[in-house]
Structure formats: C-alpha cells, structure tokens
Symmetry: C2
Subunit: 343 residues, 2 copies
C-alpha cells in the first residue's frame, strides 16, 4: 500500500494505466468492464486506496446509489430491528442506506422527506407515522421518488406496500386463546397513531364474529409514543375499577402489553396460563423485549427477514421498472405464533 494520496479519478486512472472514462464506468458498475480490466483496476485499488468523490459522482447522476430508510420512531426497538435488517440488505445489494427517524413528529417526517428528495435516492423505504402523517407531503414525495411503504399502509401512497397481515396476526392469537381458555377481550389505545391498530381491532371483531363469540373491546386514553406507560396505566385503571370483562386480554401490540404486564405485576395480579394465575395476556409484534417480560409474552411475531427480503425485492423491481408500477403492489406477510408463559 503506497500512501501517496490520490486526488481524483484522473490521477488514479493514470496510476492504473487506464483512462478516466473506463474507471468511471467501473465505479458505476464493475461488471461493465472486461474481466481483465476489472482486475487491473482492483489491483490498483488495493495498492492506492482511492474512492471517487461522492458529491461529484452524484451531481451528474439522475439516480444515485442511495436508499433512504425512514421510520416513525427509532427508539421503538421494533423499528430499530426492521431498519437494521433493511440496512443490511441494502449494503449487500451495493446501496448506501441512510436511516431517518421522524421521532413521532409530523414536521420531522416532512423535513426528512424533503431532505431525502434532494438526495435523489435510487429508492426509499418509508414507514410513515400513520395518522399523524401529512398525506399531501407524502404524496408529493412519492411522485418524485420511487417509494416502497412498509409497516403502515396509507392507501394509494407509494408504488408498493409491504407489511404484516394483521388479520393473520389476530386470527392466530385469538384462535389460540379461544382454544386454550376464555375468549379474549381486545385491549388498545383509543386513538392509535398507527393504522395497523385499526386493522387489528377490525380483525379481532371479525374473528370473534366468525366464531360466534361476543367481542369485547377495551379502549384506553392516551396519546403519543409512550405505549408502555399507557398500557401500564390501563392495567391499573381496569384492575382498580374491576373492569376486566374476562380473564384473557389480547393487547393490540407488545409495547402496550409490556406496560400492561408491569401494571398487573404492580397490582399483584399473577399473569400466565398456569394455575394460580388470575389473567392471561397475549399480544402482537414479538417485540425484542417481549421474551423478557414477567411472564414472558405470548405473541404473534413479524417475520422480520421475510418483510425485509420482500421490501428489497420490491424496490429492486421498482427501480428496474423505472420508478413506476402499473398497479400498486401490496404484500401482506402472515404472522408466526410465539407461545410463551403469559397465555
């Protein structure tokens, strides 16, 4: 390794005995030059350590190798996990992922989108805020940038949506709970930020109706992204008012359930499926922490890998199709039931 600093592609081209346009071609797509030339370049690359200037590279490109990944709330380990999986996929595919979190705020989501559009990314994975999203802003963004929505669907936005099949989630948990004990009551926030919550409630109602059972929906007040605290408060209120309609509670999502379990514990209510347990609690998402709750949480898991794979695959086709699909592509991935001690 010679440590002589290389200023630009011109210089590197000279050192590797090739012309600049050929080097440029190589960096755009190494497969576009002859094998021997490629070796020659890679040999020089190992000797001199040169990287083309990103800014100059992207300036004259209509589409860059950048892929944006935008999530509503990165401090939620669910999004951290899915973002991490997507990031890896992008790198493996030769793209440069850039990660953004809206931190639950509409203004930030809008800023992220307008900043992202200026980067001329090859494509974007967007998990929108949901109810709090500025539909106009997202629509305008999707007109400029090839976008795959994930996690939460906004009807008609983006070229495709990859998400979880909420009906599959709820049917599996409800079926299991009904099979092994009392039918569950459904526990959720009154004004959920995420459209999945509404889909899950509807799925619950449908599954219960199909089974000829009376649904029970418990809605608790609460705003924002502090789901655990809302769940905890809900548990306290319900137990205090003796308002639990049954001994089986199905939470809309794991973060609510984590709080709910904490509330039950604080009230001395033993949760689980064994004897001596007053309550069964189950939920959806398989949040990274749900195996460490007390008791460990029975839940329906996202197939993180499958979702990420499908996202990448969809974005690839989208890029190849020039950024537009004839019809909006929707993929729903079913859940995997995870049995633990809580139900």
């Amino acid at each position: 390794m010679t440590d002589h600093k290389i200023r630009n592609m011109e210089e590197f081209a000279a050192l590797s005995g090739l012309s600049r346009p050929t080097i440029s071609k190589y960096f755009n797509d190494p497969a576009s030059v002859r094998a021997r030339t490629r070796e020659q370049i890679e040999d020089a690359l190992s000797r001199y350590e040169f990287r083309p200037n990103i800014y100059a590279m992207n300036q004259n490109r209509s589409l860059t190798k950048i892929v944006g990944i935008a999530v509503p709330y990165l401090a939620d380990p669910f999004f951290a996990e899915i973002a991490r999986t997507l990031e890896r996929r992008c790198i493996d595919a030769g793209f440069s992922p850039i990660l953004y979190s809206a931190h639950g705020q509409q203004k930030l989501e809008n800023d992220i989108l307008s900043g992202l559009a200026a980067l001329k990314p090859a494509g974007v994975f967007l998990a929108p805020l949901g109810r709090l999203s500025d539909r106009g802003a997202i629509e305008r963004f999707c007109r400029d940038v090839p976008t795959v929505l994930f996690d939460s669907n906004i009807e008609g936005m983006g070229e495709a949506f990859v998400g979880s099949d909420n009906y599959s989630f709820v049917r599996q948990t409800v079926d299991y709970l009904c099979r092994t004990g009392a039918p569950p009551a459904f526990f959720e926030m009154k004004t959920p930020a995420n459209p999945n919550a509404n889909k899950r409630r509807k799925a619950y109602l449908k599954v219960m109706a199909d089974a000829g059972l009376e649904p029970q929906v418990i809605q608790i007040e609460g705003e924002g992204w502090g789901f655990e605290e809302i769940g905890r408060r809900g548990a306290h209120e319900l137990i205090e008012k003796r308002a639990l309609p049954t001994d089986t509670i199905l939470c809309s999502n794991d973060r609510l359930a984590i709080g709910f379990l904490a509330g039950c514990y604080e009230r001395g209510l033993r949760v689980g499926r064994g004897e001596g347990c007053a309550l069964r609690v189950a939920s959806h998402d398989d949040h990274p922490f749900s195996r460490f709750t007390c008791p460990a949480l029975t839940t329906a898991a996202h197939e993180y890998e499958l979702v990420a794979d499908k996202c990448m695959q969809t974005l690839f086709s989208l890029i190849e199709a020039g950024g537009r699909f004839a019809t909006r592509d929707e993929t729903l991935i079913p859940a995997r039931l995870i049995l633990r001690a809580s139900a």
Copy 2:
C-alpha cells in the same frame, strides 16, 4: 407559491433580483448578508421554493454541514435515545445529522468510518464498539475528521470524550444499597464489550473497599449484544446452584438487569425491597424499559440531555478551533439515582 420549477441558483438569483454569489453566501450563512438582503431572499424563497443542490454545494467545500452520529448498536434503546437527542441538537444548530449503527460488528464500524470520512463532515459523534473496535481504523479516522467520542472512551482517540462518570453511577447505587440493606454483589458479563463495564467494576471495588466491605463480583459467560438473555441465563444458573452470595445484586447495566429480573421471575424468586422479597436488584443506565420491568428497576440514570448538550458544545468548540484541541478534552457527567421497586 408559484410552482415553476427552479433549476439552479443562477435562476433563483435572477428571480430574487440578486446575484448568484450573494445567494450562495446566504446559504452558507444567512447572517453573512445584510438584513434587508436576507429578507429579500427569504421572500423569494417563500414564493419559489428553491434548495441548492447538495452535491454541488458540498463538492467544493472543505467542510460540509453534515454531522455524523455513529453508535455501536442502535437496536439498544439506550443508544437510540442518545442518538435521538443528539440528532435534535444537530438540527437545531443547523446541521444535517446522519445516523449510523455498527450493529455490533467491527467490519461495519470500519465501513461506516471510511464512508463517513468521504462525506467530509463538519464533525462526528462516535460511540465506538469498544473492545471490538479497530483502534487503528478509529485513529486514522480521527486524524481526518473532527471527532467527539461519547459513551465509551478509547484512550487518546478523538479530540474529546463526553461520557458518564461511572464512578458516580456506582457510588450512588452502592451507597444507597448499603444504606438500606445488605451490601451488593456486582453482577456482570465476563468479557464485556464496552469499557464502561470495566470502569464500573473497578468503581464497585473501590467504593466497597472505601467502605471497608468485602466485594463480591459475579461474572457470567456470554458474548455479543444479547445482554438480556445473558442476564436471564445468569439468574437461572445462580439460583439453581444456590450461588447468590448475598440478597442484594447490583447489575453492571440495565439490560443485564432486565434479563436477570426475568430469570428471577421465572424461578419464582420475588425481587424488591418489601417484605416477602428474597432479593434486591439494582443497576445502571435508566434504560427506557427499566421502569416497566417487574418489579420496576432501581437504577442510576444518564443525564441524556446534559450529555447531548455537552457533546454539541464540545463539537462546536472543536469546529471553531479548526478541528483540533491543544489537549484532549474529557467530560464525565454524574448520574442521577432513580429509586423504584426493585431495591
């Protein structure tokens, strides 16, 4: 708002009745043009919606307005939280933060650093992997880019370090535990990835020695970033082998404690400070989930806001000083004790 698309700064300059260099000056620093001129530009800006091309802007700049934030593991809510706080500070200060996670892997950390260096960022906040970091790579990076290390210190790297005062953390928890019951045994991973772990063990040994007490360090096998599972397994092993040396356990960090508490629960061991409790457990970090454990975790909290403020402030001085400090600046921020039900 006229929706005529503006191609470049030249065109925008014409529309706003000013010259391009003046517009360029404004975008570099709005305060560098006369107030009236600024108004004139901002007025045009509101009518025409123009953003200079990022790539062209940064190409000829020696330092950009980009700030890199690199953490070892973003799926850990502690890092998600600190990254979020730093991100906000950067935006408020007019910088564009870009977030990176090494996902616990040395190769990724190195890739992030070399990619980041190519962006010519104004500065970087780097929380290194720690033991797994490639010291040479970090050293080389810090030579090129003004870097503030945070969370975990690597002696001599970067121009400054902002972190938590591990001695303050441990002294407060140990003091509290000693004051209210039996002196704690210290529970940790045998080969911790993070240098803070070592500092905490040393602090524990010192605080115990100063108090004339016999220290007890329990080390559990385990690699990687799945701290909760390691803590859980540790609890099972200790309880099974009746190897708990005392009824008071101080975990090195909250993620271990979260797992430890789960293990205790699974073993039917009641944790807390009330009567009927077999064990007290405390820890350090005030992890976002530590208030939802069963029981809620007594811990020593990072001052997220203070740390973030100090980081920003340090980076500002560093940038103003031209990227170099005469002497490496180290700031340690003390902890805040959080009393909950577990101890």
